[in-house]
Symmetry: C2
Subunit: 199 residues, 2 copies
DNA sequence: CCTACCGATCGGTAGG
DNA sequence: CCTACCGATCGGTAGG
């Protein structure tokens, strides 16, 4: 459940630590590219160039492109989960808790690292054998939002299932229109959540 | 502003009409594949196979894959625009108008033809020279929603810009979770809109 | 992690 | 719209 491969902080005096630093760099660049262009539109050569390796060398670290995606995806989900849980723990009012969760979700999603963006950008995409595994990770993450919505006092037209779907859609779709020169992700998240407040 | 290339309804007794039927079939299959898998993940060979041509033959109808996307995209936007305007014209209450627009948007988006789905699935993607053209078409379409939201009586926490962004996000993101065996697109759209009603 | 390479697939074209 | 083909690029591998 750590955000980054743990050994990235080891001393670099031996081959193992250096190898791990390269692995971390590789993951970072893969996340950035998958997050910005999507899995299918990113080639192993793109990643190799970004990280300063030759294409074949990537396979020393990951057996396939799909395995690389799974690693990025898992870190991305963990980052969001960790950020949301930490943010929610500081609040007690149900709407304030949801606001905090949305702000954490969005600032992780829109940060430049791209790990969380890779998760959202490739939401339905990878049709291969890893698909079920990725979907399960997402479902587990969304469970937190289900619980947050369960505590909300609702207006007469609202229901919990579609409030959750509408909110997550509003948040995730911001990837399509967000420009980093305007409101901060936190501000955007709070203003999006505000549209669902009936009181 | 027609939904389909007009000549698809011409008699098939000469070469021109037959050629146009093939062109329409080609567009239909391209839309279905772009909508389901996205532009980058669909090859010209996929489309050729679906339409029963050889790969090189596609270039008799469209000079490039990008031109094919632009044609699909334009039809997709036109379909949504037409459906929304027709639906809105039947209502006068502001919320009922927005509901009707959302229902029209979503049933076009989730129908099996894939034209509108191709628009939404490749929202940020095509980075090439056609990008600006596609973005302009979308912006024009979203103008209708801007006007619909302008007529709404709002709650104390709401504002028109973010209500529009949140609603369109909630609607478009349904592509990520919609399964055709549950609620109808119209029902889903109305329930999503209901989450924003403060009264 | 590099060298050197593989077969498959990609968008696209000339000529008919 | 087919035949026949192009150079470029793809994910991936053997051997060191």
């Amino acid at each position: 459940m750590s955000r980054r491969p743990k050994s990235a902080t080891l001393p670099s005096s031996d081959g193992f630590a250096r190898s791990d630093n390269r692995r971390t760099l590789l993951l970072d660049e893969a996340a950035r590219l998958f997050g910005a262009r999507g899995y299918d539109s990113t080639s192993m050569r793109d990643i190799a160039t970004a990280v300063g390796m030759l294409p074949g060398s990537l396979y020393y670290h990951f057996p396939s492109k799909e395995d690389l995606l799974v690693a990025v995806y898992t870190i991305g989900i963990d980052q969001m989960q960790e950020a949301v849980l930490a943010a929610v723990a500081r609040e007690s009012d149900p709407w304030k808790r949801l606001e905090a969760a949305a702000a954490a979700h969005l600032s992780t999603l829109l940060d430049t690292s791209g790990y969380a963006a890779a998760v959202v950008a490739d939401w339905p995409s990878p049709a291969g054998s890893v698909r079920d595994q990725l979907v399960r990770q997402r479902d587990r993450y969304e469970e937190t939002f289900r619980e947050l919505v369960a505590d909300l006092p609702l207006g007469p037209h609202q229901d919990r299932q579609f409030l959750r779907l509408a909110l997550l859609g509003a948040l995730n779709w911001s990837l399509a229109w967000y420009k980093s020169n305007g409101d901060s992700p936190e501000t955007i998240a709070r203003r999006l959540v505000a549209q669902f407040r009936a009181d």
